[in-house]
Amino acid sequence: MREKELEKLKDYKYGFSTDIENFKAPKGLNEDVIKFISNIKKEPKWLLDWRLKAYKRVKVLKEPNWQKPKYPKIDYQDLYYYSAPKSFKEKPKSLDELDPKLIETYNKLGIPLNEQKRLNGIAVDAVFDSVSVATTFKDTLTEKGIIFCSISEAIQKHPDLVKKYLGSVIPITDHYFATLNSAVFTDGSFVYIPPGVRCPMELSTYFRINASDTGQFERTLIIADKGSYVSYLEGCTAPMRDENQLHAANVELIALDDAEIKYSTVQNWYPGDKDGKGGIYNFVTKRGLCKGKNSKISWTQVETGSAITWKYPSCILQGDNSVGEFYSIAITNNHQKADTGTKMIHLGKNTKSKIISKGISAGFSDMTYRGLVDISPKSENSSNYTQCDSLLMGNKCGAHTIPYIKNKNSNSNIAHEATTSKISDEQLHYCQQRGLNSEEAVSLIVNGFCKEVLQQLPMEFAVEAQKLVGISLEGSVG
């Protein structure tokens, strides 16, 4: 039995689960549960009202069904909406008080929470199920006036900022999953960069789902004030389970005048086993608002995990001269499905956007790029460039490209290119002739195919991502 488990873990090394006592909200979705969550987090009244308003809308909204990957109906009453380690009834004040089991978990995941152990300057906010367990390098950041903490803490300590910006990009009148998140979100990260500050280190959140039967609904809010810069990383893993787990997060980015936000994701949720059993449903809403002039938001994502990935990190280019970028690698293997892409909504003048999307599908998987480029009549002199390439491995998988292009302004240019191909025998032959075995050869070629996107990632992540690309495709050739 033990061996069998180890055998399984070879494929997905983050698939272990931590045996820790949990403190959960009662199962089901209703007003009481929302009040419970709000109460346990000692939230102010306005936030509870806001949640309840969102919940009221959830009740009348229907789940969208236009997406390509279909999934069995989710029973929202059969989920836990709040789950936290028992030791968190009172939040530990420092790492010394933290349950050693948690520290061990994060060490195992390669995310040591102990600041001394970290070689690279990355500040981490670690989210375990529904709560944030630790945030590192707080002191260094505070010196600069940067606020980096869990969103629960921000609600307590910086209510004005939260109140001003929460829901300003993803309102509670949005689609089903986003609104559900607004009603029941539990924790997540909050970042505020004061005017003129360049954040000295990468900020990072590590999401971990541990408890079973839980949905993870975290909320991230990043505000870059005038002239500031921040690079933010997000990583995710989950244990291997035979059931499907829902992850419906909301991420809101706001860039004011001359500010820049770089948001990178390496998503490696448990993808399910070889027969498509289990895995995470990753239905995430990510949206960035370039509110000020000359602002810039850049999304980079490496999507290798999840049974179903369904997300479109978007940019609303409201400020004049603002820039939106989207770089994506999505890899699906076995029975994974992905429907991902971006939306670039040009509202301001002289706005620019760039979309580079690389999709790789292998095994029995299905991959869809779906994107929208919308240039409004007032958005003069704007331009967009889109490139989406797909690579297919075998004829049991699918690769689809569905771009929506709307140009309503004659001074603006949109260019779109897409190709679909496979790794050619010549390329493989060339590599093998030089002593690589076929898997190494494929990994090399795929990395080359993805290079444009990989080089957008911060250094530490790029190495990790490159490995991940190789691992995700293992066994897909021959």
Binding site: L392, P403, N407, S410, N413, T420
Partner: protein, 416 residues
């Protein structure tokens, strides 16, 4: 929809149909009543909400055509530039047939073919057509026969009809080694009608179909044309759209490449102004190995006009070695125009070569400057650039005399 029900019953009562046909029509009428006109909630009609457009442009639509047969054909409708066979439909009723230049035994035009075959379609406009088209016609080109002169189908409406729904359905069958050159010419005098034309093509081995749809002349009708093409091995279909004259037009084409080495070409021009809204929606299904498709659509948009291009390449997992290509380009001449595109790829086979491109933007200022510095006026420079842009599509036409004819009709000089 109340209007539709009473008009449909009235039409049915006056027609002389077998029980089977009545059942077929009833079924389709029921389906249409249920669905109604497509609206923007349908993914296929996302950019062109025909329900709204009909409401706005026509208001109350009449579905009952009555028995009044117009057979008067204005001579000025006919084209004299080219020798051709004729089929003339006035207000959706067959008025004249002329195949005099062809061998009688080799080409057949049947007007008593009512098909009752139930195709399950997810398109309520086809249901509407099936329910109301008074006859469905069939054109048969026999084995090994190559049509000598092109066939021009004139779609004429007289100035007496207004706010009327006109339906027409023709089935075409091209037997082995045959070929057909077909021009659809729209000449409307009718006022604000909704014209719904549905063609079914069946292309046997080695057959060649060339279909040119010309909507050049100014009219204020709402038009929907659907070409459903099924292709056997080695067959070729070439479809060309000149989309210009109608207030609203949507040309839809579905090509099923069911035989190896079959190929489909879809080319189109939008040349729009004055609030016009036109769409081309192409879906090419590559179902077997070694098939090829090519789509090229260009738009020039002025004065509050809007064009939409939805192209889809579907490649089945069996269809290895597919070669699929799509390109759409648009020039937005002024600020009031809009170009929407949705070029889609849906691919389940790995050894394929599929790509699409889409570009839209304004006229290139540098090119205009270049031409003006060489003595052209702004207007001339602009015209030269636009014509040069569009003529690339017309040059895809493989039939020389027809290419010449279309250039003439469009008003392009031969040097392009």
């Amino acid at each position: 929809m109340q209007n539709f029900k009473t008009d449909f019953e009235k039409t049915l009562k006056e027609s002389n149909l077998s029980e089977k046909e009545i059942a077929f029509k009833n079924l389709n009428a029921k389906e249409f009543s249920k669905q109604g006109f497509p609206n923007r909630k349908d993914e296929d009609w996302k950019f062109s909400d025909i329900n709204q457009i009909i409401k706005k442009e026509i208001g109350e639509l009449k579905f009952y055509t009555g028995q009044s047969k117009e057979t008067n054909i204005d001579e000025d409708v006919l084209l004299s530039e080219i020798k051709h066979n004729k089929l003339i439909f006035v207000n959706g009723q067959l008025a004249q047939t002329d195949f005099s230049s062809e061998e009688k035994s080799k080409i057949e035009f049947l007007d008593n073919k009512n098909d009752t075959e139930d195709q399950s379609v997810e398109n309520s406009l086809i249901n509407l057509n099936n329910a109301l088209a008074n006859k469905s016609y069939k054109l048969l080109v026999k084995k090994n026969y190559q049509i000598k002169n092109p066939l021009i189908i004139y779609h004429v409406s007289s100035n007496k009809v207004a706010s009327q729904n006109i339906n027409l359905k023709i089935n075409f069958e091209l037997e082995e080694n045959s070929s057909l050159k077909l021009i659809d010419l729209v000449k409307d005098k009718g006022n604000k009608n909704f014209i719904n034309i549905f063609y079914n093509f069946s292309l046997e081995k080695n057959s060649v179909l060339k279909n040119y749809k010309i909507d050049q002349f100014e009219n204020n009708n709402i038009r929907y044309m659907f070409n459903n093409i099924k292709q056997s091995s080695n067959s070729v279909s070439e479809t060309f759209y000149l989309s210009k004259g109608s207030t609203f037009s949507k040309n839809e084409i579905t090509c099923d490449l069911k035989g190896e080495y079959s190929s489909a070409f879809v080319n189109g021009i939008f040349s729009l102004d004055k609030d016009k809204h036109h769409e081309i929606k192409a879906k090419i299904n590559h179902l077997v190995e070694n098939t090829k498709s090519y789509q090229l659509v260009k738009s020039v948009l002025e004065n509050k006009s809007r064009s939409v291009y939805q192209g889809k390449i579907y490649v089945d997992s069996k269809a290895q070695k597919t070669d699929g290509y799509q390109l759409s380009k648009a020039i937005l001449v002024d600020e009031t125009t809009e170009f929407n595109a949705k070029p889609e790829l849906e691919i389940y086979a790995d050894d394929v070569k599929c790509s699409h491109g889409s570009a839209s933007g304004s006229l290139d200022e540098n090119s205009i400057f270049y031409l003006m510095s060489r003595g052209l006026s702004y207007k001339e420079a602009r015209e030269l650039l636009i014509n040069g842009f569009l003529v690339e599509v017309i040059n895809q036409i493989t039939d020389e005399p027809i290419k010449k004819l279309i250039k003439n009709l469009y008003g392009l000089k031969n040097e392009y």
